[in-house]
């Protein structure tokens, strides 16, 4: 789960990382009020969960409360990469001397978190990593010990920070790690961490990704989820324990298992079609789950055919077939379907579905060809 900048920075602040004075506003009038409190010279920042807000004109410096109101009005009516701006963050403007990058990421290969920093922040850190890897400092963190003070201080030295800032930087590193570990983040990033003209360190921007698997122990963070930022189908899928990603093709897919669901999408493409979605219905195939999955798939108006690929294994295919038939009764619109069932009692499963005038297939290739033909026909 992605957090907004204002949410991430609040968590950073709670862990001792200095952030600019500011508050979030949902209306231009509220933005004006905050600008007045902060003395007029403020930065108005669109809160959307995509990168590249600055380039899209979503971050603006203003000099007075009335200008703040005007700019907030503009930002609150704009879309950035298809997402409507519903809130703006109004932050006291900082005078920037230097921009630094500081982040904690999970290194899959090393199986531990890594503190990453660069004296050249403010820009795309992946780009810096590609073009000048020597400018990036990385320190592996022991998952039992956590980030230690000497490691954070060592990074301050290695990115070439002035000695008088080492102490403050060290504390910011430790604070960021605190935010990362206490929130079960998979990424906690300050970019830029600036040195102001007054010589203070300040986290101007913040980004956090939270581990969805850890939500059960963070009810407070679960409340921060911004439903406006995801498709209603994705919200609906999560409710039923389904894993759904919308794509832009015409062949809807319902599959049990994530790897098989991806393989099913791929084979649809190989057969000359395009998958409309990724959908993993998980273990078992209860009629309730199948029904929910069908509703979600068919909510997408591009879908012209649906491919059901269920590798039952231990699950009984006749039960799955009955589940599918029950689910079909609540289907919002008629769309041709191809079903492939493999597992115990698969012949019986196919017979049940054929009697309901559903196309069936023995192999994945055959199923994909039929579904693509139906979608194009």
């Amino acid at each position: 789960m992605k957090l907004h900048e204002y949410q991430s920075k609040q968590i950073f602040a709670d862990n001792g990382v200095p952030i600019p004075k500011g508050r979030v506003a949902a209306t231009a009038a509220a933005a004006k009020e905050i600008a007045e409190e902060l003395g007029g010279r403020v930065v108005i920042k669109a809160q959307v969960l995509v990168g590249g807000r600055g380039k899209a004109g979503g971050i603006r410096l203003v000099r007075s409360p009335s200008e703040a109101e005007e700019v907030a009005t503009q930002l609150l009516s704009m879309q950035i990469k298809g997402l409507s701006v519903r809130r703006v963050l109004v932050d006291e403007a900082a005078s920037i001397r230097t921009e630094i990058y500081l982040g904690i990421i999970n290194d899959r290969q090393a199986r531990r978190p890594v503190l990453v920093s660069s004296g050249e922040g403010g820009i795309d850190i992946e780009e810096v990593a590609r073009t000048s890897p020597e400018k990036i400092v990385r320190v592996a963190i022991d998952p039992f010990l956590g980030l230690r003070e000497y490691q954070s201080r060592g990074v301050a030295a290695r990115i070439g920070l002035d000695r008088e800032l080492w102490k403050a930087f060290t504390q910011i590193g430790l604070g960021l790690y605190g935010a990362y570990s206490r929130s079960d983040a998979t990424l906690a990033e300050i970019n830029p961490l600036v040195i102001t003209q007054e010589g203070k360190l300040l986290a101007l921007d913040g980004k956090m990704l939270i581990d969805d698997n850890a939500m059960f122990r963070h009810p407070d963070l679960a409340e921060l989820r911004d439903m406006d930022e995801e498709l209603p189908e994705e919200t609906e899928a999560r409710k039923y324990g389904l894993s759904y990603v919308k794509l832009d093709g015409q062949v809807g897919c319902m599959v049990n298992g994530a790897g098989l669901a991806m393989a099913t999408m791929d084979i649809i493409r190989s057969c000359g079609g395009n998958p409309a979605n990724f959908l993993d219905i998980g273990g078992g195939a209860s009629s309730e789950k199948v029904a929910a999955a069908l509703r979600i798939i068919l909510a997408d108006e591009n879908v012209r055919a649906v491919l059901l690929n269920i590798f039952g294994g231990i699950t009984r295919c006749d039960e799955v077939a009955h589940g599918i038939l029950n689910a079909l009764q609540g289907v919002p619109r008629p769309v041709p379907m191809v079903a492939r069932l493999v597992g115990t009692n698969e012949e019986e499963g196919r017979r049940i579905l054929s009697s309901a005038k559903m196309e069936t297939a023995l192999t994945l290739l055959e199923a994909a060809r039929k579904a693509v033909a139906l979608a194009q026909g």
């Binding site: 899959r108 992946e126 790897g259 999408m265 084979i267």
Partner: protein, 287 residues
């Protein structure tokens, strides 16, 4: 021969009294697996599955009484990392974690804990291990597999079944099937499995089933180039997956410029691995 598990493997099931635990314990027993004990805190002293399997309160208690040398975990995600640590503390040399949804920071600690003790982990979020005709530790449906000389290692569940099924249909049996799981932080990976298959006299060929996310497949390609003499055929799922979206598995996500199916395919092809366009094509490429 086989790798990791065989007919002598003595299994303790953690979370044996849960719905999944009970169901799959019965399936394992039916397949011939030597399930010697179960663990469920608070139910020590009971017997389950028609009195066939004794239940213990702790893994160490089960180990002491039965000499189990492999643990399989069916504990809910929020306690599963703890179950791994308990099995590790008891010194179980091979721990197979089926549970899905363990927080990644928990897994980083659990994996390190086992590494420091020299213990092996398979999973989590995996279907487990199957040595056809001998034993299964996990949930892979036994009836689709046949004993034979093809080793399988996979990041997936049902996709693995699909491949096993396709191989068996063509009369190609399997030595051992390793479901390594779909999480970003996991136990045994492609490298360890390939190394074991290379050294296993029963295995003549290997099927590697990868997917988008991370760079395990790229590392496997390096290993294959340097160490493998046996032929390897691969399938990589997710050629049509968009970047930045998690495709079901916690580890299946293209992040920034890394983890795409195209990169993995290129890396494997460059070291002579044949790539199947779809799972059912694998038997033909192995022949």
């Amino acid at each position: 021969m086989s790798i990791l598990v065989n007919k002598n493997t003595k299994v303790v099931v953690q979370g044996i009294t849960g719905r999944e635990g009970l169901f799959h314990t019965a399936q394992m027993l039916e397949y011939g697996t030597r399930v010697v004990a179960g663990v469920r805190p608070g139910k020590g002293g009971e017997w389950v599955i028609e009195g066939k399997v004794p239940v213990f309160d702790t893994v160490s208690g089960a180990l002491e009484a039965t000499g189990a040398n492999c643990a399989v975990i069916f504990v809910p995600a929020r306690s599963a990392a703890d179950a791994i640590l308990e099995a590790g503390e008891a010194g179980i040399p091979l721990i197979v974690c089926i549970s899905e949804g363990i927080p990644v920071q928990d897994m980083m600690r659990a994996r390190l804990f086992l590494d420091q003790r020299g213990l092996k982990l398979v999973g989590p979020n995996c279907p487990g291990l199957l040595t056809p005709g001998e034993t299964k530790v996990g949930i892979i449906p036994g009836h689709i597999a046949r004993p034979g000389n093809v080793g399988i290692v996979s990041r997936s569940g049902t996709l693995t079944y699909e491949v096993i099924h396709a191989l068996s249909e063509q009369g190609m049996g399997q030595s051992t099937c390793v479901g390594m799981g779909g999480d970003p932080v996991h136990g045994i990976g492609f490298l360890e499995a390939l190394e074991l298959f290379e050294g296993d006299p029963q295995t003549d060929k290997v099927v590697l089933i990868g997917e988008i996310g991370g760079n395990d497949e790229e590392k496997a390609a390096e290993f294959i180039a340097d160490h493998m003499t046996k032929p390897v055929v691969a399938f990589i799922a997710g050629r049509t997956a968009p970047a930045g979206k998690r495709m079901g598995h916690a580890g299946a996500i293209i992040e920034g410029s890394s983890g795409s199916a195209a990169d993995k395919t290129r890396a494997l092809e460059s070291v002579g691995v044949r790539i199947a366009a779809y799972p059912e094509e694998i038997p033909a490429l192995l022949a």
